[in-house]
């Protein structure tokens, strides 16, 4: 059975690290929902991400900052299709949904102090600290080419159940 519940800030700290796939849902100019898989940063009970300042995501947020941010564990996201798939049970927390507004920080303003890259130690994060890609990422933020976007959540819900 599908259900939801509120999430404490401490619980969110745990979920931010265990739910390692992140999806951004925003509105385009015509009011359609748009979904983007995202990397992510987290700190002080808040998610953030970076994107090109001229990207469609920034254009959309400057018009309408409302956002839904979904985090899901990779064992759910990568669940193999077919009769053998059993990863998501009825009581499992398959996803956490944060609803609120996105804030695009001004050019040159970097990540808030204490906000760290999620999955930084994972080999899939090509831009992890110490890599050439990470240096380029930070330089791009400092120059204003990339923007830092923060998710200000008004509500956080755990979605349970296989369906």
């Amino acid at each position: 059975m599908s259900s939801s519940q509120d999430v404490s800030r401490d619980e969110l700290d745990q979920l931010a690290r265990s739910h390692d796939r992140r999806m951004l849902v925003q509105l385009d100019a015509e009011g359609w929902p748009m979904v983007y898989p995202m990397g992510g940063f987290y700190g002080d009970h808040q998610f953030g991400f970076t994107t090109y300042r001229k990207s469609q995501k920034v254009v959309n947020f400057e018009r309408d900052p409302r956002v839904s941010f979904v985090i899901v564990p990779s064992e759910v996201w990568d669940e193999a299709p077919g009769a053998g798939a059993t990863a998501v049970t009825e009581e499992a927390a398959r996803a956490v949904v944060l609803s609120g507004k996105a804030e695009v920080l001004p050019p040159g303003v970097g990540l808030p102090e204490g906000m760290e890259m999620l999955d930084a130690g994972h080999e899939t994060r090509a831009s992890r600290p110490g890599s050439e890609m990470h240096s380029k990422l930070m330089a791009s933020i400092a120059s204003g080419k990339r923007a830092v976007v923060l998710i200000h959540a008004d509500a956080v819900q755990i979605l349970k159940g296989g369906y």
Partner: protein
């Protein structure tokens, strides 16, 4: 590098979607705000079919406004990132036989007695990306 140059072909999109079973679903709330969810899907007759509990927020949103966006993505490593995003309309599947076929194909089939709404996605626009097609690579280590 333009997005088009790393897009999947139509055949690659079809193959990729058939290899996955979970997608992110974006719907519109009563006030027009975006709502995210995660749902299972299957491909039937070349179209994305999915199901969710009838009382769930996503189902309520679709009943009010069928405009949706779905995203499927894999990310085993940076240059293996691959994804498909489809924007379109969620159309209800009313045929009981087709509903049973779709539900039986979902990974895994839902529990008996679950009150599920079944939809198919009528696509409006498809966007895809395959980072393995990037030519000018930056070292990732």
């Amino acid at each position: 590098m333009s997005r088009e140059s790393i897009a999947l072909t139509d055949d690659e999109v079809a193959r990729f979607l058939s290899q996955r079973g979970v997608m992110a679903l974006g719907t519109l709330g009563a006030d027009g705000a975006p709502c995210g969810d995660i749902v299972r899907y299957t491909i039937h007759n070349g179209l994305v079919h999915f199901a969710c509990m009838k009382g769930r927020q996503s189902a309520r949103n679709i009943e009010r406004d069928p405009r949706i966006c779905c995203a499927v993505e894999q990310n085993p490593s940076y240059y293996e990132i691959k994804g498909v995003t489809i924007r379109g309309w969620a159309r209800p599947v009313d045929d009981a036989g087709l509903c049973r076929t779709v539900l039986a194909a979902l990974p895994p089939p839902p529990p008996q007695g679950a009150d599920l709404a079944v939809y198919y996605l009528e696509p409006k626009r498809t966007i895809s990306f395959d980072f393995s097609k990037i030519q000018n690579r930056i070292p990732t280590a």
